[in-house]
């Protein structure tokens, strides 16, 4: 090729140009500087600080409720790390994943409860559970030899759904060699009184013990995944996710690796399931239905497919956020803060911020006057407003007596307004923004606060939409190119 020095200085070696994309992404300002300083720390510190914080949680005078959330989070992290191997690396859309979690839980319950009168030692039971779940994963992975993409998703979704049906209906199975039908799974009631884990004489009988156990397991799983990420197996998985045919021609046995991914992912899910069964001291089929699967997928996509810190953060958000929103006083604050911060981020100009918010406040008072003029019956501040925000919101928000009806109208108007705003120019959007902001807060206070359990799902959904719209690659994910 005669790479003379003149050549190499010429076309194609301009580092500055080539790194333009990275620079544009890196951003500027305070946020970027903090990010850079953080990434500059040794990785032991970067991983150690969050770890230390979670270990200290139970010793900072916290209660069982928080520990239960922590335990759920730990299980969820294990599941997300396992699913990441299959979906994040190998690109196999496995919608039956939750069945492995359920299978592990049921298998542990069968081996360590009165259901069959078996009370195997915990370690032995867990080994059996992990091995059988992995074998189940291998079996479910077999269609992936031929099926890819959407087709694999449909096939595995079927298995996932079938699992729940099977568990519900296997409470009276007639074996030919038995006189009576046999109860295998406890049907819709599940299996209760499952043994707690007991290893080397130590019984895990408190939330604290499970919390710490899960921290250890999540750390081990994270370290293992991190090592796999850059290894020959990790690279082989990622390349077959990119282009399976090219991977084959580059000495990578794609079929074997796909099956390995399914098997490993299932094994991890089985382990999580066994621990879940023993934490709960019971298993119930309704746990393993679609919502859990969707939440796990949301977590790994939110965090950034294939990125380990992303998977961990995504799982944390999806577990902790709905819990925070369970309490009206937290969710009220959270809503207002997110709304205000979101508006500031959207405006990207300090000059416009006071104008928009002043407009919003003015529209609130104008609305009050209009409502009063029409003669809509209303509640007094003392009747509805609670918490530290009461004096502020109480005098500004008009609270009609017919909260449900008027709230519903406002909600529909809000959704339509937000959807249509995406079509408008920036100037028009900014002119309309004060009204929409007022409408959002009005809807929130009047209608959504009435039903916190629905509201929290709405909010999580809205947050996902916003996050995915602003960062489609996930919080820590790298922007990806599908086909060029």
């Amino acid at each position: 090729m005669s790479t003379t020095p003149e050549d190499s200085r010429g076309i194609g070696t301009d580092e500055w140009v080539a790194q333009h994309g990275e620079r544009a992404q890196r951003g500027t300002g305070l946020y970027a500087r903090i990010g850079e300083a953080w990434m500059g720390l040794p990785s032991l510190v970067r991983w150690g600080i969050p770890l230390l914080l979670v270990v200290l949680v139970p010793f900072a005078g916290s209660n069982d409720y928080i520990l239960r959330i922590g335990i759920n989070l730990g299980l969820f992290l294990l599941l997300a790390l396992g699913l990441n191997l299959v979906v994040g690396y190998s690109g196999l859309l496995d919608l039956g994943f939750i069945a492995f979690y359920g299978f592990g839980a049921y298998a542990y319950a069968a081996l360590a409860s009165e259901q069959f009168g078996l009370h195997l030692p915990s370690l032995l039971a867990i080994v059996i559970v992990v091995v059988t779940t992995a074998a189940f994963g291998f079996t479910l992975g077999l269609p992936s030899r031929r099926l890819t993409g959407d087709y694999l998703a449909i096939a595995t979704l079927f298995f996932g759904q079938m699992f729940v049906v099977l568990m519900v209906s296997s409470d009276a199975v007639q074996f030919p060699w038995m006189d009576e039908p046999m109860d295998l799974t406890g049907g819709a009631n599940g299996i209760s009184n499952v043994d707690q884990l007991s290893v080397l004489g130590f019984t895990f009988d408190s939330n604290l013990s499970y919390y710490l156990l899960l921290i250890v397991l999540v750390v081990l799983a994270t370290v293992a995944t991190k090592r796999i990420h850059f290894s020959r197996h990790g690279l082989a998985w990622r390349s077959l996710g990119e282009d399976s045919l090219a991977a084959q021609h580059m000495t990578i046995p794609t079929v074997r690796l796909k099956l390995l991914a399914f098997t490993l992912g299932a094994g991890i899910a089985g382990l999580a399931g066994a621990i879940f069964a023993s934490v709960q001291q019971g298993v119930y089929p309704s746990t393993f239905e679609l919502p859990l699967l969707i939440t796990i997928y949301a977590a790994i996509i939110l965090g950034g497919l294939g990125s380990i810190p992303g998977v961990l953060l995504g799982a944390a958000i999806m577990t902790i956020l709905p819990e925070l929103l369970r309490f009206p006083e937290y969710s009220n604050w959270l809503f207002l803060v997110v709304l205000i911060l979101g508006t500031i981020m959207y405006l990207k100009s300090w000059k416009l911020v006071p104008a928009v918010f002043a407009g919003m406040i003015a529209i609130g008072f104008i609305a009050n006057v209009i409502f009063l003029a029409i003669g809509v019956p209303y509640l007094t501040t003392a009747e509805w407003a609670k918490g530290p925000l009461a004096p502020v919101l109480g005098s500004w928000i008009f609270m009609p007596e017919e909260r449900v009806l008027i709230g519903n109208i406002a909600f529909v108007a809000l959704v339509v307004a937000v959807a249509w705003m995406s079509l408008l120019t920036r100037r028009t959007t900014i002119i309309l923004l004060p009204f929409v902001l007022w409408l959002a807060i009005f809807t929130w206070e009047v209608r959504l606060m009435l039903e916190p359990s629905i509201t929290r799902q709405l909010l999580v959904g809205a947050l996902l939409v916003v996050l995915m719209a602003t960062r489609p690659q996930g919080i820590f994910g790298k922007p990806r190119v599908e086909v060029l």
Binding site: T3, D7, R227, H233, D243, M250, P253, K478
Partner: protein, 273 residues
Amino acid sequence: MMSGSPESESNPTPALELIDITKRFGGLTSLDALSLAVAPSEILSVIGPNGAGKTTFFNVITGVYTPDEGDVLLFGESIRGVDPHKVARRGVARTFQNVRLFQNLTVRENITAAMYGRTNASLFDIVFRTPRARREERENEERVLDALSFFGTRLQGYRLDQPAYSLSYANRRRLEVARAMATGASVLLLDEPAAGMNPKETQEITEIIGRLRDERSYTIVVIEHDMHVVEGVSDRVIALDHGVKIAEGSFEDVATHPAVIEAYLGRGSAARK
């Protein structure tokens, strides 16, 4: 047998031999009783109009298709019907007509991924970072730099850690060749390596193909439409049309062969000349 050190030229066994290969797709016979042999460290070019069966020819060798009749021998051993990843392990690596890199992997990762077949660390080794895993990591690192050094500074330095999709078109083609080299193969099948390149880049890739043979003793089969490349690199040229070998010999012989001119330009063109 394969890794890195192909047989010397005195070896009479061809590196690659096709014996009466026929491949049909329904009623279409894509390759029709095709026989040919490539000597070790030879550069063979395959030309022919669109639809002549050139890419099918590569797909039959690499195991994407199993031929309906005939046999494929690699250094005397049959690789007919062997899975693509095993063919690659036994020493045949290829590039693709429409570049198929692992787009979202970096340059370094693309090449390291192709070394899967020459490394042995198990998941256990990797998770517990055994000496074997660490040794292989170091070796891989050296091999990456070695494969890339072949292309001068084009794919080195900061580019090592850039995703493949961010590379220029010519660099993607170069990276694909480097990735094929990294498999440890001794036979390279290059499918239109100069497609879409400007004249200067075409000149460069021609020289690279020559150097691959001269410096690394690769056996190379090239499918190419650009006659400058074919003329520049080939020891021997084969022309295919409708799956049949219509001419074989030196570039001059084949380029002036009446059957070849007819295949490209239609009946009567040779006569009028």
